[in-house]
Symmetry: D2
Subunit: 370 residues, 4 copies
């Protein structure tokens, strides 16, 4: 269970690290949307291993193929299937992991749950699963852009204790993509890259924080009670590998303010739109978007698989040590940026269609008694 995400814009990802390939089935995409494999590939290339000197050297072109759902360059409305074949697999790198559990990885828990595990590349727990998310996210982004000019921009806010200075209200995709660590604070980006390289040399790993902003969000997205917009965003990003924390707007820091300091006072802008003076709510109030920028942060732990030797046990429980082979990222943050963007896009697109389904045209037709 658990391979399906979304309610109206609903995706099913599939595949494993080692095997025929990975991909996604997208159910509920509006018809007549123009989409090319190149637009999807562009996002996959940002997620791709081997994209720079600070990522895993595994060589995967991650070329996507659209199996169904697009005809003469347009979506059909029926389900879309996207497949990415695996190429550079090295099962032998995982021989030792067949018997030894990697600390803080999914090896032991998969065995506990299922009594069996595909130790070649981690099977379904591999981060290659996120290829399907990023491919579907590319389509979700396109829909949001077409309907509402929505922009979703993620970036590395912090690596370990190196924190960039970034204004989420003005940051551009060009700034993010201007460097391999995806931090728009260029001076800080250089220091982050240095740190990651140093950590890699030590056979160790580090983590950090990705921030993501969504701009031009129609007010009214999100549902009362359980499917609040921030709840679905939290679920989306907390289902990404290695994520340990989530914040919306003021987040944990906001708990240090009083209500009178924290509340976002309302005013009416020049165009007659009701706006807030500040945005500690992070664009969501009562679970529903208010039209201000949605701003979230996600904490990613240091990569679990490291070359440094660690104490662990075998499947049978005998004490041993493990110094992981295989090709792993010393820091997942640069590649996590497109993943976070994809999850944000999937959640927003789903809620856009849900809002249209329940309140769209109906709201006004019914209101005017037609």
């Amino acid at each position: 269970m658990g391979n399906i995400f979304g309610h109206l814009f609903r995706i099913t990802t599939f595949g494993e690290s080692h095997g025929g390939g990975v991909g996604v089935v997208i159910d509920g995409c509006p018809p007549l949307l123009e989409i090319t494999p190149a637009e999807i590939q562009q996002e996959l290339d940002r997620r791709r291993p081997g994209q720079s000197k600070i990522t895993t050297p595994r060589k995967e072109a991650d070329s996507c193929e659209i199996l169904s759902g697009v005809f003469e360059g347009k979506t059909l409305g029926t389900s879309i299937t996207i497949l990415v074949k695996n190429q550079d697999t090295r099962p032998q790198d995982y021989d030792e992991m067949a018997v030894k559990y990697r600390p803080s990885h999914a090896d032991a828990t998969y065995d506990a749950k299922y009594g069996i595990r595909n130790w070649q590349g981690g099977g379904r727990s591999s981060a290659r699963e996120t290829i399907g998310r990023v491919a579907a996210g590319a389509i979700a982004k396109k829909i949001l852009k077409q309907i509402a000019k929505t922009e979703i921009i993620g970036y590395v806010k912090r690596i370990k204790d190196l924190e960039g200075v970034v204004d989420p209200n003005t940051v551009t995709m060009e700034q993010v993509e201007s460097n391999i660590v995806r931090c728009p604070d260029l001076e800080c980006a250089d220091r982050m890259i240095e740190l990651i390289e140093e950590v890699r040399r030590q056979g160790d790993s580090i983590g950090g924080v990705v921030e993501c902003v969504a701009r031009n969000i129609p007010p009214g997205l999100g549902e009362p009670v359980f499917d609040k917009l921030e709840a679905d965003l939290a679920k989306g990003v907390m289902s990404l590998p290695a994520s340990k924390g989530f914040e919306i707007g003021s987040g944990f820091a906001g708990t240090l303010l009083t209500g009178s300091e924290h509340n976002d006072e309302f005013y009416t802008d020049a165009e007659g739109h009701i706006r807030t003076v500040t945005n500690r709510s992070g664009g969501i109030q009562g679970g529903i978007s208010n039209g201000e920028n949605i701003i979230i942060r996600v904490a990613f732990k240091p990569t679990a698989t490291i070359r440094k030797e660690q104490r662990t046990v075998t499947r049978e429980g005998e004490a041993t040590t493990l110094a992981a082979k295989g090709r792993h990222d010393p820091c997942v943050l640069p590649r996590a940026v497109p993943m976070v963007e994809a999850m944000v896009a999937l959640v927003l697109c789903d809620h856009l269609l849900r809002q249209q389904g329940q309140c769209g045209t109906l709201k006004f037709e019914v209101a005017h008694g037609k």
Copy 2:
């Protein structure tokens, strides 16, 4: 949409602050569980308004009535309906809010979404909705306790900048309930209570952090990919009113460590169970419980509705000010504790049944070729 939570143990909450009442329908509860209204009432009393001098003075007994699903003291397996009637409603307190938007509240976004809003007590956005969650959570807790001796204990970890010292591995429910702010660090609890009373006198509000531990969790709960256990926990608590952030295990602080510092090394304990030396994972690895204590933290912002005057606009967008009437909590944290526990219980109980459905008896029968 959005009033339903869970997959196998699935609840639908219903009702509004002002109207016939609130409650919950629970679908998928195992049969033959002994449950009394008193056990449910006990949890509702921890959530109830007017329970102490630091909560809202609204007087609601919140007496629950089991409409269906329990027969001669035992669950029937068919759906359970629990109803709590509203009593102490004062719609007149909300007259001003019919036309003015409360800053950082759901008033404006409900209007944006639906074009209409029940301004009496906030309608469906009222925290009274959580009565249904807490009632259902009481049953989920009982199931978890019966099956696995699971204990779920929440407590106030921090109020504004006052942080208690609490060991999640040993804290008891008695310690939590020993004081009205629900902080097991008694010295700190006294200062928290003082601070809340002072803030209330100023017509202001404050927030903080609830921490929650779940002990005696069977390994194997949670699903790969989207329905990771931490993802469903994040969604559950981020759907609570006023929540702004979520952490599991090391959370945001864990991003300051290297992988070799952060990883939880394995060992085998005296009873032959595979355990981890540390628990920075917070009891979950790869989205699946590993048998260690599950530890989460939730940030709650200061209550949005305050007596202090704030700038805002009317429904028509005209600038005005609002000093809220009505009876509100100066700090939601003490009453949020049972809500967080309930959401944790609901998620764990759902995943317990899911695990039993997919892997329970079948796992072994199939394995042994029967």
Copy 3:
């Protein structure tokens, strides 16, 4: 499980025959729809026991109360809760059924499934559960009528071997409601009523066929693959108590034709709409509505609970006999008519919102490159 129906227009029914009451939570209703308790009551009165000499004499006013979701006569967009309290319960009528299984009833299977059963009135298996469906159906009908002028009219087509002559394309609700058996063929209706009265005197029961037509259906409702419109209609009506068969359009009889006889040829009508000459498809092709009238038939078996003595066993498996007490319908068909209409309305309304969510405004906006 299983108490929830629909995807965007989603209902949860609750309650039991004997206990606090029964009702429904409706999730996803469009906002600003004008609805009165009287409109809902009108449908409930058609389903109500004791409505005529040929139904069960149980006296239930079945007065509905709207607990939430409607404000100043309009839907809020948030969930709607409707409660009907039970009044004329006689648990003592069921004493014998506490130990003896009624043949062809749910007594034995509930025990087999859950190991426990509420024998008072059948608990959740009681047909009183359908009150929630009919109440929600009244709202679904109103939405369909407002948006598309859709009319949904069910009627008794056959009682045992007495079959009425009815034209689904022109039948009116007035004709249906002109007699207590709800068969628009008045001459046949008289004979049906006589037959039911005779069967009741014998302590026996009979069944028959309900036909239902939905007129003014927008083309494009329904989904490819699993959620075909006829598949969801089939599920909806086959979940009604006592239903044993389902047909759409030509149904079983259509299998006696060749393709060239059966196919509905296309033509363009005076207004330029693409229409079909015949309607053996029953308004649905490839799982999607084509704008022609949707016509279905549902077979209902004779009521299982009868006064005639039958052989059965006790819970412990000992042979015994049972001549049922309690108040039961000699024929469920007249009261099944509003239930079938409700299920058809719920399915169509759900698919209307789904279609609007995926293809509504988007289809054209995207098509025109906006």
Copy 4:
């Protein structure tokens, strides 16, 4: 939407007739089940085009490839992906259908719904979509067989007006597979084959009825209210292409009996099991299996695509005629048999896991106060 089926054993089918291929993602399969591609292929071969002189001559080996979820011959518990590549596609056969609507086919309704359509082979409306169902059904069958020795056997009961005499309680798979039309009444089978060949020569098509029995069904499968076992079976088979009607047990004919004639009286058999003397219920009472054989019937209309010339319109609504090219079955029944079996297996397997999830071990543990 609508490409997902099941709740705990949940499948997503994907792909189109012309394009990269078709297949299925299976979510929730128990781990450690031994399964080989050959076992899946065996079922696909029964569904395959070109399998005999009375099916479409399209040549497709329909060779399946397991992309993920099976490791060293055993299921992993994580999702299973099965892919079948398309081979013998002839898009040119469909040139005429790009502009003309086939009567009683999905062409016109897809255009009405989406404003666009893949006219090559019908896109997602192609019966090739059922490959995914049959592949997943093969795994569901294996699970049911392992756990409960369940057998699911479908067969052709009637072709047009030729009806076979078959005892569902004793029919064997060998009898079904002994002839190309899959009717176990061999004398009747010969006449059916003759009739199909004659109809094909005329460029026409015919339909009929598939009957399916499931034997060795554990009592207790199915849910009260909406997810009754017969409701989910009805949805499953009514989502198959060309199906027009569904019956369980006595079906429409049962409406001609009185309750005292129709009811299945109980007795206790030699092993102490509570059984029914007759089985007009078709193995399900109150929506829940009673342990007797489940027997259903499905009506399939004559194939819509025929070589005979028919009147129709173009996309623009102009009158024209169409004599279909392409390769089509003169009668879908022989190939529909494995499809019906697959849908029955999917529904039963899903409900088996659901029953285990809610009531399995828990029922007894809780009952005994452990």
